[in-house]
Amino acid sequence: MRHERIAFGVMLAVFALAPLVVYPVFLMKVMCFALFACAFNLLIGYGGLLSFGHAMFLGTAGYAAAYSAKVWGFPPELAILFGTLCAALLGAVTGLLAIRRQGIYFAMITLALAQMIYFYYLQAPFTGGEDGIQAVPRGRLFGFIDLGNIWAMYATVFAVFFGGFLLIYRVIHSPFGQVLKSIRENEARAVSLGYDTTRYKLLAFILSATLAGLAGATKALVFQLASLTDVHWSMSGEVVLMTLLGGLGTIFGPVVGALVVISMENYLSQLGAWVTVTEGVIFVLCVLTFRRGVIGEIARLIRRPL
């Protein structure tokens, strides 16, 4: 526990102080993706379910938040809430279908469902097709905080990220989280102990989708944009990469993974398709030689869970 507190303190300090030296928009992007990856990790790291379609929740919430803020004039807090709810709803529907199969099939089903959603958004009139929804107003939070101010926006993303992170932390350490872990380790045994594993898996799926949606809705306000990029399968692959690189089933791994992957994309963006190649190479190396990920390796060195 003490190590986790120290790590949490470090993370808090980094995100509180870094904007003094690093471009704040970049940090907000990192925090949005870190929350996205943490939500994804809740499913794979603790429930043992590899979703290959998590982009659909990020993108759906992004579209819903952007549309409600721009067309219906929702204030930012309601836009984020609305986006998150839409993702939760989508999570409930797709979760019901996907948890009917396990392992590899689960991954393929979530990928296929996400692709269906992608094609839907490609054609649907409200998404703006290839252009996406642009120039989304950030509005005034609770009616009086102008999010056009970069520091107000930063504080909001900071609060959303840490709120989501602490919620996930709480869930992992709750009895619910323990049951999830037992399902990951041995589902048959969990069933024999009397747990309705289907319900636990569905709840975990919806929770993960909801938090991914929270990240997506917030991201749409930060960048004032919701686009097809966020629903594409490559985005689903990216969140897998972040989590794998940081450490599957570790608490802080996804944050580190998000930081590394987003930095890489940011600084290598002029290299075009080489970013994809690099990501692929990292995937291969992680799977072959580095399955614990950055945080997983550190945790092994200090012999404490992180």
Partner: protein, 295 residues
């Protein structure tokens, strides 16, 4: 002009033909996935990239060495299959004792690498590949014009699919393969070299993807992304059919291709999504897939 259900027959048969063509590729690709999955327990995410490699291989053979379609049909599967064998020997082999999901992640990474490298070299635009001379032209069937090349693709993929089914279900080699799928240790104890069989199976599955790529060249444009979206549809096909049976993946592949073609005629807005909707429905009522058995 004659009509069926208010749709001109020309359009109907045209879309049915396109459906059958797409179905041929779904069947070839899902067959390869099923064969690989049966023995390796790995979902080969690189399949789409290997299909693309087959098409590019044919393109290089034609433009660099002047070797035409028929040569490509033989060389490309061998060449791409060989790269598959290298991948299996050097990387996949290390993952058999781990959770199957690592195989999926590794092959996903490989697909990103291969597709990224080709996109760097060739951009995103498509390259044309000419239809071989012997297969140009159209046949008038009375109710529609049938391009000879398209008829060839359908027949050839049917022959390859049924040939594969025959080898796996009806020959001695196939029985070893099926036995190794059930219980590799026992088959090994009978003196059969299972690791070599696994390697060759992966090579064969990859070669099937490359063969599909060569055949796709003259129909679709050859581009680095040609396999990326296709493979996701093929995954849905695999989920619908269930990976239990070889014949199942062939039938499902063709059937869904035709269904997609029909959707293009009657409700074009859903033509991209119809296969995924079918998948959702099948999952609701028969989670193991139409031909599958749940383990």
């Amino acid at each position: 002009m004659t009509e069926i259900f208010g749709v001109p027959t020309q359009a109907l048969f045209g879309q049915l033909l396109i459906g059958l063509i797409n179905g041929s590729f779904y069947a070839l690709l899902s067959l390869g996935l099923a064969v690989i999955f049966g023995l390796l327990n790995i979902i080969n995410f690189t399949h789409g990239a290997q299909y693309m490699l087959g098409a590019f291989c044919a393109y290089f053979l034609l433009t660099r060495w002047g070797l035409g379609y028929w040569w490509s049909l033989a060389i490309a599967p061998l060449a791409v299959g060989a790269t598959g064998i290298i991948i299996e020997r050097t990387m996949l082999k290390q993952l058999y004792k781990l959770d199957h999901l690592y195989g999926l992640l590794l092959t996903f990474g490989l697909a990103l690498v291969i597709q990224g490298l080709f996109r760097n070299q060739f951009g995103s635009s498509g390259l044309p590949y000419p239809i071989p001379e012997a297969l140009t032209g159209n046949r008038n069937l009375g109710f529609m014009f049938l391009p000879v090349y398209r008829a060839w693709v359908i027949v050839a993929s049917l022959v390859v699919c049924i040939g594969t089914w025959f080898v796996i279900e009806k020959t001695k080699l196939g029985s070893y393969l099926r036995a190794a799928t059930e219980n590799p240790q026992l088959v090994q104890a009978f003196g059969i070299n299972v690791p070599r069989m696994i390697t060759l199976t992966y090579g064969f599955g990859v070669a099937l993807a490359a063969l599909a790529g060569v055949m796709a060249g003259p129909i679709y444009q050859i581009s680095p992304q040609m396999g990326a979206d296709l493979i996701i549809v093929v995954f849905a096909v695999v989920v619908i059919g269930g990976m239990g049976s070889i014949m199942g993946s062939i039938v499902t592949g063709f059937g869904l291709g035709i269904l997609e073609g029909l959707t293009k005629v009657f409700y074009p807005e859903a033509s991209n999504t119809v296969i995924f909707i079918v998948m959702a429905v099948v999952l609701l009522f028969k989670p193991a897939g139409l031909f599958g058995t749940q383990k």
